[in-house]
Each structure stands twice: as C-alpha cells, then as structure tokens.
C-alpha cells in the first residue's frame, strides 16, 4: 500500500509540475539557448584538427588514415577484380563458376541440402539481373568480414588476457552497440573520404564489437580443465592461446563470425551512403526515386546473399567429418567454367534474355493496392495519427526536461540505488543540454508507440507459440528469417503503402522489432519450471489461471528482457527511418551525414545512445527486482 502511495504521489507531483510550472520556470521546459553545450562544434573542430594538424611525430594522422585506406584498398581491388571487374585482361569469374563454387562450399559445410540452398540463392541473384551489383557487394563483404573477425578476436583475446583492458573496453563496447551507425558514418567519411574503402571501414566498426564480446564469452566458457591441461603440459602463452583456447572455443567463435557476416550485410545499404556501391546503392537509389519494384528486387538479392552466407557460416560451426577433394572440385569448376565462358558468352555473363524482372509486377501490385484500397489505408493511417500518434507526441514534447530528469532519477533510485538514479537523470540532462530535447522526445514517442504495438502483437503470439510445439517451430522459422533480413528491407513495403511520414516509420519499426518480443515471451514461458505448473494443475487451476497466475508471472523477468531487446531493435530501426522523413534524432544524424557535419552527427547519435542506455538500465533493474521478488514469492507459494 505504502509503495503504491509513494508512486502515486510522485506521479502526481510530476504531472502537476509539467502542467503548471511553465510560466514560473520556463528554463525547466526549454533548455536556455545560451547554455546549450557546443559539443557539436567541439567535435567538428577536433575532427578538423585531426585531419589537418594531428601528428604522431613520424607521420601525421592523415597519413595514417591514408595508409589504412591503402592497405584495405589492395585486397578490395583484388576481390572486385575476381568477382566483378576482371583484371589483367581476364574477365571476372563467370556467374556459373560462382554458383557452382558456392554450392561446393555449401556441400562442404552442410551437405547436399545446403549445397542446393546456397546454389539456388546465388542463381536467384543471376536470374533477377542483380549479378554485377551483388558481386560488388560480395567483394566488400569478403574484405570486411575477415577484418572484423580478426579485429574483434584480437580485442577479445586481449580483454581475456588483461582484465584491466576488459574493464576499459566494456563501456566503449556498450556505447558502440547502442550508438546508431549513421553517427559514425560522418567521421569515417571525413577521415577516409567517399568510396568503398570508407564503407568497409564503417562496416568493420559496426560489426566488430559483437565479435569482441562473443570472443570474450567463448574463451571464458572453455572448461577450466582444458586450461589446466594446457598449463600442465607446459604450454607457452602462445601455445595456450592458439593450440588450446581458441580451438576449444571454436563453436562459440563461429557464432561470432556468423554475427559479423550478418551485421556486415545489414550495413550494405547504409554503407552505400558513403560510397559502397553494389546492391546497397541500387536499393538506396530506387528508394530515392520511389521505384519500389527496382528497390525490392535489389533488396531481395541482399536477402538471398544473407540467407546463403548465414546458413553456410552456421553450418561451418558444426564440426563434420569432411571428405576431401573439395579443392580439386573447386579448381575443376574454375577450369571448366573458364573454358565454357570462352566458348559460350552466356556462361560469362548471365544473358539478359534469360533474366526475369518482377520490378514492374511489384510496381503494379502497389499501384493496384493504392487504387483500390487507398481510402481504407488512408483512413486507418489518419485515424491512428490523429487519435494516437499526434496526441502522444504533443504530450511528450510538452514535458519539462527537468521534470523528466527528476522523475527518471527517482525511478532509477527506487529500482536499484541512487547511483542508477544519478546516471539516468544525468544522461537525461545531457540530452537536454545538447539542445536536442524536442527531437529526442520525438524519438521517444515513435519508439514508445512502436514498442507498445510490437509487444501487443508479440506477446499473444509468443504465448500461443509457447503452448504448441508445432506452432513454435513455424513461428521460430519465421522470426529467424525475419532477423536475417537487413533492416532496410522493412522500410520498403511500408513506404509503398503509406508513403513517407511518422506512420510509415512506425509500421517499419514494429515489423522489425516484433521478433524479439515474440522470441523472449515464448522462451520465457517455456522455461517455467514444469513442476510448478503441475502443482497448479493439482490444485485445480484452469488453463487460464495457470497462464496468468503461474506462467506469465514467473516468465516476467524474461519477458522484460524481451521488452528491452524490442526497444533496442526499435531504436536502431528508427534511425534508419529518417530516410522516410521523420523529424527525430535520426533525422538530425541523417542531415549531418548529408552535410558531412561530424559534430552534429555524433551528438545526435550519442543522444540516441543515451536514450537506449537509460531504457536498458531501468528495465534491467526492474527485471532484477522482479526476479528477486519471485524468489520471495516462490517461498510464500508453499504456504
């Protein structure tokens, strides 16, 4: 009772303050212009200094970045030479050769089924006329992935060996995983210039932190006995690392490799904003001229690449007994395909007459929907906009930053301790201090509504799937597949049906963020101790009572984790929706990108990261409390 009273009082205070204090304390509502932190200017000045003046004695910073570019340029040129452009007067690999090679690789990794799947994925790309672009994209993936894996693994190994280093990089990794990609596109662009190499560098920066994390985890999970064994036989440090630890952690490390591949593919479209070319560029260009058919086709090609690479890299994680001869098979393929290519031009480049195009078809579908259902769609959209979206947005923007900071600080304090409260309140004040309060609130509003809707959809589906194993199998396949799609793919159908605006952004965000809501709900419910359910049954509970009184309550911490993930997914998608004209922090970052204003971009990105961190810490604390309370509830259950 007292607990509820305190909360009611605080909420009342907060509401009263927000509603009445404006005339008295205007500064608590709008951060005074004169006091806005010129962080963006500082960062821009710093970047300029780096670029023009910074020097390490022997060489300048600019020479360093040029050197890095040059080092990456060489293998990238080689890869594009082999795959798409040809070199030394030789043509690039023919489509037939690549398809067969990929199928061989699939066979080596996972047998006949995987061979067929991966071969078909690549054939699909050829048939739909996306071959040249796809090979450009593949080339940059082939360069970015090894760099990301090697870099992430080195950092992970170092963090494993030196605990001090681990402590130092953990907050950086936290920040890197919450900061939107756009934010560091700008500095990368400025430091490395526009082009595929800069795109590869941005991709590596994006994909490396998870690899570092996974490497640390995988090494920690190596059984203590194996470490003891290494010491006992007298391994040197190097032998310990490379002969014992890394091979024993291989399964975990391969999960990291898979992650790097998927994240790199996720970056394909975004990276094309700083010059990646290939499929990403095609999608972006199509999106800009609102040519949905072309955009979708290029998008599907990215999905085909993603599926093939995902399945192959996952299969490689499982140790199989492998027959030999794959190398000969590959060499034979190269020889035969090369010969055929000379004899038949259709083998070298996929003939246009065999190509299919669904572009016009999709264009017609959209046109048809828009002609026949325009009024319905429009009515739904407007109803939601007027009754839900706009009022919520107004309400949030009208809130005083000081009140929000105090309120969040109070929540943090009640949920854990004063330190969490101070962190949360401090981050809120920082957001206000950058002068981006209104945009931040727009982000919060779009993210909040999308998350609510995603949870409203995800919870019931998760509950139903948890009850029925056969349904769960399909649902899991569906959400696994959804998660291999690059986030941009979600944007296209939404734009086709609803054009640009907040509503479109919301639809895309919901579609992207619903997967974790479903997954964590189902897993949480399935994880409930079967004995407790049996006990409930024995006491004569109905199915509904078992669900609401036992299962949902015990699964609450897990469902909260799902909520947390849903918010993180929503935020990362939200930034991308800036492309369809939202007016939030994402837009701020995106504008900075188009103007190559690194300070503005980073500040906007950091504001998004702060929102993510606030949500993450508060929900984490709430989940921990729920877990602790359930421990107590479990005891009183017996009485």
């Amino acid at each position: 009772m007292r607990f509820a009273a305190i909360w009611l009082a605080v909420l009342g205070l907060f509401w009263g303050f927000s509603a009445l204090a404006k005339p008295l304390l205007p500064w608590a509502f709008d951060w005074p212009k004169a006091m806005v932190l010129p962080a963006a200017r500082w960062i821009s000045a710093f970047t300029k200094w780096l670029l023009n003046e910074a020097s390490f004695g022997l060489f300048t910073f600019q020479e360093l970045t040029r050197g890095v570019s040059a080092v990456i340029e060489v293998p990238y040129r080689a890869a594009t030479g082999v795959l798409s452009e040809g070199a030394f007067g030789l043509p690039p690999l023919s489509w037939l050769a690549v398809v067969v090679l990929v199928a061989l690789l699939g066979h080596r990794a996972g047998g006949l089924r995987l061979a067929l799947l991966s071969g078909l994925c690549f054939l699909f790309i050829a048939v739909f006329g996306q071959w040249t672009s796809a090979m450009v994209t593949l080339a940059s993936i082939l360069i970015a992935v090894p760099i990301g894996v090697a870099g992430g693994m080195s950092l992970g190994l170092a963090a494993y060996r030196w605990p001090g280093f681990a402590r130092a990089i953990t907050p950086v990794l936290d920040l890197m995983q919450t900061i939107p990609v756009f934010a560091y596109l700008v500095p990368v662009l400025i430091l490395f210039g526009f082009g595929p190499v800069a795109a590869i560098i941005a991709t590596v920066i994006y994909a490396m932190p998870p690899m570092t994390r996974i490497t640390q985890l995988a090494l920690q999970r190596v059984p203590g006995e194996l470490r003891d064994l290494g010491n006992m036989v007298g391994c040197s440090r190097r032998q310990m690392t490379w002969r014992v630890m890394v091979p024993s952690a291989k399964a975990g490390l391969m999960v990291g490799v898979n992650q790097v591949i998927m994240l790199s593919l996720n970056m394909v479209i975004i990276a094309s904003m700083i010059g990646a070319g290939g499929l990403g560029f095609d999608v972006l260009a199509a999106l800009r001229r609102l040519d949905f058919g072309a955009g979708l086709e290029a998008g599907f090609a990215i999905v085909a690449l993603a599926i093939a690479l995902d399945r192959i890299s996952q299969a490689l994680a499982y140790e199989r007994v492998v027959r030999h001869g794959y190398l000969w098979g590959a060499l034979g393929t190269l020889g035969i395909a090369g010969l055929l290519a000379v004899l038949m031009p259709g083998v070298q480049s996929y003939p246009e007459s065999w190509q299919l195009s669904t572009g016009t078809f999709w264009g017609q579908v959209v046109a048809w929907i828009n002609i026949n259902y325009f009024d319905t769609l429009e009515a739904v959209k407007n109803a939601l906009l007027i009754n839900v979206l706009i009022p919520v947005k107004r309400f949030l923007i009208a809130l005083p930053w000081a009140g929000v900071a105090l309120f969040l600080g109070f929540v943090g304090w009640r949920l854990r301790d004063w330190r969490l409260g101070a962190l949360v309140a401090g981050l809120t004040v920082l957001i206000a201090a950058t002068g981006l309060w209104d945009k931040a609130m727009t982000t919060v509003y779009l993210c909040g509504i999308s998350v609510v809707i995603a949870m409203l959809i995800g919870l019931p589906i998760g509950v139903m799937a948890a009850e029925r194993a056969s349904l769960w199998r399909w649902v899991r396949l569906a959400i696994d597949t959804l998660q291999t799609l690059p986030s941009f793919v979600y944007l296209m159908p939404a734009v086709m049906l609803f054009r640009v605006g907040d509503f479109t952004a919301m639809i895309a965000v919901v579609a992207y963020a619903v997967a974790p809501a479903i997954r964590y709900t189902a897993l949480g419910l399935q994880g409930v101790d079967a004995r407790l359910i049996e006990a409930g049954r024995a006491m004569g509970c109905t199915n509904w009572q078992i669900l609401t009184r036992i299962k949902l309550r015990l699964a609450l911490p897990e469902i909260m984790l799902g909520l947390n993930q849903t918010i993180m997914f929503a935020l990362s998608m939200l930034v991308i929706t800036a492309l369809v004209g939202t007016r939030d922090l994402g837009q701020e970052v995106y504008i900075a990108l188009t103007k190559a204003d690194s300070g503005r971009g980073l500040v906007g990105g950091l504001a998004v990261a702060f929102i993510a961190i606030i949500a993450d810490r508060l929900i984490g604390a709430a989940a921990a409390r729920a877990r602790a309370r359930l421990g107590i509830a479990g005891d009183s259950h017996g009485g």
């Binding site: 194996l226 006992m232 036989v233 007298g234 391994c235 002969r243 024993s248 140790e319």
Partner: protein, 342 residues
Amino acid sequence: MTEDASGPAPKLLCRNVWKVFGPKGAGVLADLGMDATAAQFEARGYVAAVRAVDLAVAEGEIFVIMGLSGSGKSTLVRCLSRLIEPTSGEIWFHGQNLLTASEAEMMQLRRHKMGMVFQHFALLPHMSVLQNVAFPLEVQGVGRAAREDTARKMIALVGLAGREDALPRQLSGGQQQRVGIARSLAADPELWFLDEPFSALDPLIRREMQDEFLRLQAVLKKTIVFITHDFDEAIRLADKIAIMKDGAVVQQGTPEEIVLHPATEYVAEFTKAVARAKVVRVASVMKPLEGAAPAISIAASAKIADAAPLFLQEQALRVVGANGATVGVLQRDDVVALMLGG
C-alpha cells in the same frame, strides 16, 4: 600424522599448505592465524579451500586423497603443481621448494616431471586421439615422427591401438579417459596426478579402469597422487590414504590403519561399510608365537580374507615374514572377531 625419519626421503613433501580464495587471501590468513576454522573465513567472505595440509608421498607409492565433493581435493592437487598458487606453505620436490620456483622453472617441471589426468578427460576436441596423446610432446617441440611414435606406444599401452585417428567425441567415456591417461604418460613423468579420473564413468567401467590402472602402475611404478570421493576406490587402490574434510586432512595412513583405527567419527562413517577382511593384513591381527608353531603357514602381508578359508581345518596359522621366518601366529578367534566385530 607420522612424519618419521625412517625410510627413504619422500618424493613429494608438503608442509602447512594453505589456499584461501578471495582477493586478499594472504592478508586474511595472516589476520586470522593458522588455527582459524573454515567458518571464520566464510564469515569474511573467503573460502579456505585447503587448510594446513601436511603430506609426504613416497617414491612409487599410490597416495590417495579422499574426501566428499567440495572438501578441497582438486584445489590441493592443483596447488601441488602450482596450477593454483597456494596462499602459504612449502611444497618440496627434488630438493626444491616449488613455491619459490620461477614460472619458467615450473613450466619445465610440468613438462618433464608431472602428468595429470582430469575428471572430465579434458581432451582437445579438434584433435584426433593420436594428436591428443602426442600433444604434450608437441608442446615441448619434439619432432613429429618421434612424438607420434611415443604416442602410438602409449595408446597401445592403454589398449586403444587401432583408434588413433578417431576424434574424442567418437569414443565412449571409458575410452576417452584411456586417451587422457595415455596423454598424461606421454612425457614419461615421475609424478602422476589423477583428479577423480574414474568418477565420470559408469560403475562397471569404473571397476575395469581401476584394474587397468593397477596393472599399469605395476609396470610403470610412478609416484601417484590420486583423488577420489569414493572410499571403496581409495581402499582398493591406495598404499596410503589422506582423508580431507573442509579443506583439512583429518587422518592419513595406510588403508588398514584407517579402517582399524578411524581417528574421528567422520572417518568412522566411511569405514563402517567396508569389509575389513579385505583391507586388514595378517600382520595386524597376529599374536606373538607361544609354544608350538602351527603346521600351515600364511604370509604376514596377506589379507585376512585370503587366510579365512584355511581356518576350515585349522585353529591357528603360522605367520611368516617376507624372508620365510616365522614372525607370529594367527588365531581363529581373532579373525572371527575382526570379521564380525564393529
């Protein structure tokens, strides 16, 4: 705890060894002093996993450390090879205190003088049986042909010839531990540590492996520290047993001494269920010879269980020493009392 000066100097000697887990273990140990109980450490958030342990392991002996799970056996055996750094104490091996040895010296010692078998086998999953067994030699930089040659011999020794190219996960638990044993012997160590080597195996296989182990030791004559939580296993294998509880050794001695004279209630709990006749030797029950010597003789080192059938005809047996001389007499009543008595 008889640390007499008789007999050869022990191969491995440990004096007052402590291990206190926690960020400032040594400081807490200094604070609480050497008489502190496990509970006192626990109250300060520390775990005293090994407390004031003294051991002397003689050359060629099977020294078994027995204790329930969590009693500190694994920690102790890892202290002996300094896989875990002891908080205080001395460990003498080859006239050197290992706790003062440098990291490089320890590496050489572990490479050439020590071998270890692990409870969960600790086979490297990406290597074949042959590569696993050859691994200690590979680490030492032994050439491929030489190390594979040795490895093959070791694999044959543990009865796995023909499975050299199998991967660990294709083997049964018993076979995997045979690989672990072969690997621990590959570098021909003097000291052989086995940390619950058979605990993860089925009872039948465990028995088979124990026999195999005794057969191997009869040939190899290593100095062995063998860890187990199974008192029957300890009795079956040991020349000497140390019983651990809460990190301290509560009693050590031959199986016979422990079964006949348990030092505490705790030890007595273990000895209760043991068939004494299978542990106790004739020498422990015999009386001095008075009057005429009985006709039938038995060796002083034989177990009572071996003597029992002879009493079907006789009332008493003549006990002879290793050199054949009569050293005493074994009375039927004493044997009956031992076999029936509590």
